[in-house]
Symmetry: C2
Subunit: 602 residues, 2 copies
Amino acid sequence: MGERTEFRRDLGQQLRVDSVRASAAANSGHPTSSMSAADLIAVLIDGHLREDDHLIFSKGHASPLYYAMLKATGRIDDEELLTFRKLGSRLEGHPTPRIPPTDVATGSLGQGLPIAAGVALAGARLDRLPYRTWCLCGDSEMAEGSMWESIQHAGWEGLDNLVAIIDVNRLGQTRETMLGWDTDGYVDRLTAFGWHAIAIDGHDVDAVEAAYAEAERTEGRPTAIVARTKKGKGVKAVEDLPDKHGKPLDEPEAAIEELGGERDLHVELAAAAGGTPHAFPTTETALPTWDLGEEVATRKAYGEALTALGSSRGDVVALDGEVSNSTHSEDFRKAHEDRYFEMFIAEQQLVAAAVGFQVRGWVPFASTFSAFFSRAYDFIRMAAISRADIRLSGSHAGVSIGEDGPSQMALEDLAAFRAIHGSTVLHPSDANQTAALVAAMADTKGISFLRTLRGKTPVRTPADEEVRIGGSRIAHEGDDVAIVACGITVDEAVRAADALADEGVGARVLDCYSVKPIDVEAVRAAAHECGGVITVEDHWPEGGLGDAVLEALAEAEDRPRVTKLAVREMPVSGTPEELLHEAGIDAEAIAAAARALSPLRR
Amino acid sequence: MGERTEFRRDLGQQLRVDSVRASAAANSGHPTSSMSAADLIAVLIDGHLREDDHLIFSKGHASPLYYAMLKATGRIDDEELLTFRKLGSRLEGHPTPRIPPTDVATGSLGQGLPIAAGVALAGARLDRLPYRTWCLCGDSEMAEGSMWESIQHAGWEGLDNLVAIIDVNRLGQTRETMLGWDTDGYVDRLTAFGWHAIAIDGHDVDAVEAAYAEAERTEGRPTAIVARTKKGKGVKAVEDLPDKHGKPLDEPEAAIEELGGERDLHVELAAAAGGTPHAFPTTETALPTWDLGEEVATRKAYGEALTALGSSRGDVVALDGEVSNSTHSEDFRKAHEDRYFEMFIAEQQLVAAAVGFQVRGWVPFASTFSAFFSRAYDFIRMAAISRADIRLSGSHAGVSIGEDGPSQMALEDLAAFRAIHGSTVLHPSDANQTAALVAAMADTKGISFLRTLRGKTPVRTPADEEVRIGGSRIAHEGDDVAIVACGITVDEAVRAADALADEGVGARVLDCYSVKPIDVEAVRAAAHECGGVITVEDHWPEGGLGDAVLEALAEAEDRPRVTKLAVREMPVSGTPEELLHEAGIDAEAIAAAARALSPLRR
């Protein structure tokens, strides 16, 4: 046995021992899922993983192994290792970017590989650098469709800078996986998707070495290393046994002894591949503006504004879920083809790629129909835990899309995005607002979401008026009743206010284009000065604009009656006008609500 | 050319003509995506599709073809065909169950096949009947991971009663698909996943006939027919051309003439395969109850209650996403193994299978960590449009799970589920409530969601007390301040109320175990009788219990100040107690909020 082989075996044992120790100290965690992959990681960090490579643990529950690896590579000391899962520790139950150099949070299975594919795509087509992206995957998570979205996409893109290491330990949380130890089954599938796939014994460090070397040599295709392993490898009390998932070992001391005792081996990562990220040329370009009264769809304004922003800023990139002629990201594609990414109809991979791009410092804007971001909701939730800065633009909001019917109507998106931690939720009513908000999003931290309309709306906001995240505007003056609206309902509210003016009722229309954060001051002022409040939104009643207004008023001095107008019955097909009317969110319904509220309001 | 061949070609042309006509009448729709699959459907309905088979259009945008088929089989007349996409018509932009015999709504791509797999699974293992499930898929939607979840699962289950027809027309909405016309590429992938796959020319009706016959003969595996077709087939102005997606033809009259003019062919479906659905034996079994003060996790109560319900009712089935020992659906699995379905870590397929089961009249309960239902949010949204009756149980709510960290904590689930149309959202605080609500869910229409806790809570609800959807209970009497809580925060609120009582402040704790519908009367009474209101939830501030309470009070006579306590910073790992404290939703924080509110409240 060569010296290096022996060292790597020892290093693997150290990673196991430290996984057992960390889990024992925490009295929780996933040591057995760590032990299966220990040899794979030992060989990786001893000569393959370079300083500027990326490594994502898609099987985030193998966090004990991840932290043991950080110790072996000098990122943390043994004392910190034993703070695992304790309050205040950077070593959370599943990895998060709180502990460098972790790129993203994992722990919801099936997300690491799609994000790794995004990082690799950035490496190949944006940074244009030789760094490699490695991803440790579990076999249980191969059941997640999102894995196959990324396998499909990375295969199609021919990302030879991406290596997936699949830890086939056979045992899931409660039973054997669908494929068990059928490594050939995985190889067949991966090969059919355009990958180079290698089946090995994941505990044979020389075989692992050979596989990594082969992956590094492979050109034109991503490589998957399908490694047959044993869960809990090295400790008889747990090795390859059921019911040993997600719990510390019963007898950690004995296990540590069986593994050869504690070690303090240390490895240096291989030297960085180096290089300077590519920079795209820019030309100072003003944001587009539109004249008052022009009829423009906000989705179209999105496309034009993003295109201008992309001219001024070389770090802005666009992605779309194969609906770029609907979302109007096609404008960006035509102007900046090398910074546009077609993600096809795979919304999870769409969002994951955006997360991967921002890992590398790019400023991604991803677009699809707003309804279809619901497909990636878990990815968006996890992106917030990753402290990712991504911008999402969802078109075709609400019943106002008309004939296509409810499957294409986003009616829960404001609720879903408001409930994402640290999110920004924007729903402009006209083109000038949209352009200003697109520019603001580029400098916004966290998850920012822009909801755009299919149909045209008249420009009401002067091009030189300030539009800001957290802002609002008064679209119609009045102080008898307040109508709070956003998007398509601003138009309807203004029409209602005009009708009410004829009856001598002064309605203030507040355009809350920033739904989160909402303009608390303006909402409270409207409540104080107008008395009764009506909220109107092209959205279900729950979690959207109405709830944001109620929240703004919950602790205010003035808490007037609030009538919430929203979509309450399942919509059908029809014209936009018909459907706004049927839903009770058109000018007629708003005016009627104002009349009903008026005598009661003070 | 045989007579039947000729008839089928004519029938295919009729389906094209009617697709063009319907889209022209609507001035919108997807005629070209219909024309590619017309021959596939012509052969299907002429001799293969039986009266009791199921047919799901996964490519729901081919609705013109679907409705043309309904006309050819006598389900609708020509007059109704031309109401396509008009207000009041049953023929919506994408199919919904409003037009029989449509099982489910489609239109969000990648959902039809997973649901079809659910129907087929019901056929094989629940109904135990010979009906077959056919599913027309688009090639663009093969990019969706959910397709591969179902391909994987159906292959593993060996569902030979399932046939996927993949309409490979090469062109997506804006460009060529990843695989284009590489039908062998699809065949390789499907074969690797355990399917029998047949590549054919989808316009050669004899080849289609042979493929269907082969599918019908195939045993032990599902079959995929990979049909090379042309988008817009039969009309030169659009055939196989880009930029012809999702719009009516410019010259419909000329197109109809080119297609051979209008026809009025009619086909009878093949006779039903017949048979009587299997019925599982039952034994009258009481729901479990627990004594006051017992400490039980509501997730455990879920498992026990569902098991008892399954004994009493043979139509109740359970599914889980490979965490049955966490959600406690394992109790059901052990008692009723033939009605338990392991869906592995594939939450989209998990929900889709539940939808498929209820198509056949079964009463599915699907469980996983509540955080991971976010993975299937689009499926849940679409299930509401399908008017599906499904029950979802999400465990591991909120920061109270402790050490696992934020990736495993559901903190947006109440918001997400409240925003599903017609949904029921339940979050019991103890075991007796849980059991009663599980029983109620079985008879509840629409999407019902039960949120359960990882940790134990004391039983406070007497076993004989009424617990109902839309109900609530007073967990602590008082009329100086109202504390509205649910789940884990009920315990904290009661502790706070005890502390406040010592200070002479009478706090009423309202346990709103039914978050939607919320008990408006009880919330308003609490506001009226107590003045100030505090809401406290283990959830982000947006869209959850607090917003439900604000909504209940929005139009009430008494609208007191409402202080909303919720999780406002990204949680980390720690013990449940530490994390409830850090989040400011423990007894101490609640009592402090009550003290702050008290002097201001009236």
